[in-house]
């Protein structure tokens, strides 16, 4: 048994330093109390709904979210808008469909099954409209950045006056959390930029937290069921392990050898 504990502590030791070595990147990220972290972590429904509002009113003018569909907004584990609300959200977008029987493309109001409407037709159009920089698709953005949610949350609040020794080109901004500190996106949030339906005060900090929560969900839509299943699976495994341990002791008691 002693060997066994040694073995598993070595396993943990081997694995941990490797994973950390990638994430190491200068400025300490801002921290906040994410509700979706931990063994039982769940999304804060209201925060997800507010986050969607920030996304759709602010980010969506440049950033696409091409892997999400409007139906996702009503699915369990997400913002959980009612189906009627999700339908209304979908219908508020114009979707290009077709070709129809005359061979023409046409537009119609969005349906639940439609993917989120993209702000630009293609990458080139997005670059042309943004001074050559491509606003990345946001579907899996938090998983595509080293610091994850903390990085996005910090970045949104990391805009500062550039220090004197840093010169910025036109359309480039200073952000203390950005890799290399130079970012082509102007500070997207300002206090009171959106008006929350639930009366929450729309500070930059609050909006950053809400929209980052929303992005975490968009990147990991099954996070809640993953946590729930994980807890059950691990409890099950532990109970089984204990039972098997005692069976093993019993079986091995027939020979004069330790296990």
């Amino acid at each position: 048994m002693k060997n066994l504990f040694k073995l598993f502590s070595i396993i943990i030791l081997i694995i941990t330093p490797n994973s950390n070595s990638f994430a190491a990147e200068k400025a300490e990220y801002l921290k906040t109390d994410w509700s979706f972290k931990g063994l039982f972590g769940k999304f804060d429904r209201a925060s997800l709904q507010r986050g969607y509002q920030v996304y759709t009113e602010v980010c969506a003018s440049c950033h696409s979210m091409k892997y999400l569909s409007y139906r996702n907004l009503a699915e369990p584990g997400g913002p959980e808008f009612s189906e009627a609300q999700a339908k209304a959200i979908a219908a508020s977008f114009e979707v290009t469909d077709g070709p129809n029987s005359d061979g023409e493309m046409f537009t119609r109001p969005g349906k639940l099954s439609d993917k989120f409407v993209m702000p630009y037709d293609n990458v080139k159009a997005a670059q042309a409209a943004n001074g050559g920089a491509y606003p990345p698709d946001m579907s899996v953005l938090v998983k595509a950045r080293g610091g994850g949610v903390d990085y996005i949350y910090s970045l949104l609040q990391g805009y500062e006056e550039a220090p004197n020794n840093v010169s910025l080109d036109d359309g480039v901004y200073y952000n203390k959390y950005m890799y290399g500190n130079k970012i082509r996106m102007a500070a997207p949030l300002s206090d009171g930029l959106v008006e929350y339906g639930d009366g929450t005060n729309a500070t930059v900090e609050q909006m950053s937290k809400d929209v980052t929560t929303f992005l975490m969900w968009s990147a990991e839509p099954h996070l809640e069921s993953r946590h729930q299943m994980g807890f059950k699976a691990i409890v099950y495994l532990i109970i089984l392990t204990v039972l098997v341990y005692f069976s093993m002791k019993r079986i091995w008691s027939r020979v004069e050898s330790e296990v």
């Binding site: 060997n3 066994l4 073995l7 598993f8 396993i11 943990i12 081997i14 694995i15 330093p17 490797n18 994973s19 070595s21 990638f22 063994l39 892997y67 996702n72 990345p136 698709d137 579907s139 899996v140 998983k143 595509a144 950045r145 080293g146 994850g148 890799y179 990147a219 990991e220 839509p221 099954h222 993953r226 946590h227 299943m229 994980g230 807890f231 699976a233 691990i234 495994l237 532990i238 089984l240 392990t241 098997v244 341990y245 069976s247 093993m248 079986i251 091995w252 020979v255 050898s257 330790e258 296990v259």
Partner: protein, 420 residues
């Protein structure tokens, strides 16, 4: 072994067994006499079998939904993560399963190194194991390319470009591997095909690995030849089955932790960015389990020699049974080898660490020293040690720990109890 005179009880069983002796095989596997002092480091063979089966089953399921096309691969992975029932679970098991597989194989290999399991008469088991390990690396590398993220694409570019170091024909080989003039759709489809094929090759080699093992039987922590069956052995079933099962469950708890609570911690964030041939990531790093070899590759200034060094680092293991000149198997009775063993472990961990860091300044220096030491260990220390080392007295059997009247009796007994 009792299987020669084994005869099924039922008439039908006898009829079948006379034509295809599967029941004799089953009887051999259950009765297989196993040293009773095997410690938990010996449970990783079973764990590895579990890993292989898990990868094959989850991989088959993923292949039903994955699309091997440069324009659709990334999207199809997101489709699996979002819309396929429990697709996220299957993919996370498969992705983390690769890491767990390598974790287990490294423990398995280092167990062999410690207890001298590669020595006569087990050289063939060991060499088959090295081939399996090479195929695992190939399968893992190609599997990592399939999601077609940035690290997939650039990892594939860096690794395939290594072949261009071969004089004269190098460039041609790279073009041939790619199926074009850069990593692109033909590269992806052939990688998918090979990624699907290799696990079944591994499965076949695993059968040979176990077959070769069952000829001399297991080595054991004391490293001596034992009589089989005897007081020193237990039948494989139920003793080893339940012990392997217990260890496997412990392993599965660690596995489950990664799958459910940290599924992306072992991967690189850049691989969630779709492959873009126009944008090179700041640091191109392979998966953690390949980092020591990546460090060796980069520590040599010349490209061709770097590739040679990297390949030699693996292939040198295949001739290990002949490089290690000591007659004693287990490090328990080799006080000097034991120390060098742990230095080697530290050396490989250091190589892994610097492999993840940029190849410059102090990191590069450390990588060079560690690389040199790695080869020194196998090419100089091991052969010399076999002649110079003063080993401890080795017991005659597992139940009779040490030769009577030996001056080192107490010390050896003490060691013995630690092993068990």
């Amino acid at each position: 072994m009792s299987d020669h005179d084994y005869r099924p009880k039922s008439r039908v069983g006898q009829w079948f067994n006379d034509r295809l002796p599967l029941l004799t095989l089953a009887n051999h596997l259950t009765d297989y006499p196993t040293p009773k002092n095997l410690n938990y480091w010996w449970t990783f063979g079973g764990i590895l079998t579990f890993c292989l089966i898990t990868q094959i089953v989850t991989g088959l399921t993923l292949a039903m939904h994955y699309i091997a096309h440069a324009d659709m691969a990334f999207e199809s992975v997101e489709h699996i993560m979002r819309d396929v029932n429990y697709g996220w679970l299957i993919r996370y098991i498969h992705a983390n399963g690769a890491s767990m597989f390598f974790l287990a194989v490294y423990i398995h290999i280092f167990r062999s190194l410690f207890y001298g399991s590669y020595k006569a008469p087990r050289e063939i088991i060991w060499i088959i194991g090295i081939i399996i390990y090479l195929l695992m690396m190939a399968a893992a590398f190609m599997g990592y390319v399939l999601p077609w993220g940035q690290m997939s694409f650039w990892g594939a570019t860096v690794i395939t470009n290594l072949f261009s170091a071969i004089p004269l024909v190098g460039e041609g080989i790279v073009t041939w591997l790619w199926g074009g003039y850069s990593v692109d759709n033909p590269t992806l489809t052939r990688f998918f095909t090979l990624h699907y094929l290799i696990p079944f090759l591994i499965l076949g080699l695993v059968v040979l690995h176990i077959w070769a093992l069952h000829v001399p039987g297991n080595n054991n922590p004391v490293g001596i030849d034992i009589k089989k069956p005897s007081k020193d052995t237990v039948p494989f079933h139920p003793y080893i089955v339940i012990k392997d099962g217990f260890a496997l469950l412990m392993f599965m708890i660690v596995f489950a932790f990664f799958v459910f609570y940290a599924p992306n911690i072992l991967g690189h964030a850049d691989n969630y960015i779709e492959a873009n041939p126009m944008v090179t990531p700041a640091h191109i790093v392979p998966e953690w389990y390949l980092l020591p070899f990546y460090a060796i590759l980069r520590s040599v200034p010349d490209k061709l020699l770097g590739v040679v060094a990297m390949l030699s680092a693996i292939l040198i293991l295949a001739v290990l049974p002949w490089l290690d000149t000591s007659k004693i198997r287990s490090a328990v009775f080799r006080p000097l080898y034991k120390q060098f063993y742990w230095i080697l472990v530290a050396d490989v961990l250091i190589l892994g660490y610097v492999g993840a860091m940029p190849a410059e300044g102090l990191y590069l220096l450390i990588a060079r020293v560690a690389t040199a030491y790695y080869f020194l260990h196998f090419l100089v220390i091991l052969p010399v040690l076999g002649f110079k080392e003063k080993t401890l007295p080795v017991p005659l059997s597992i139940t009779e720990p040490v030769l009577g009247g030996s001056p080192n009796l107490a010390a050896a007994r003490n060691k013995e109890s630690k092993i068990e």
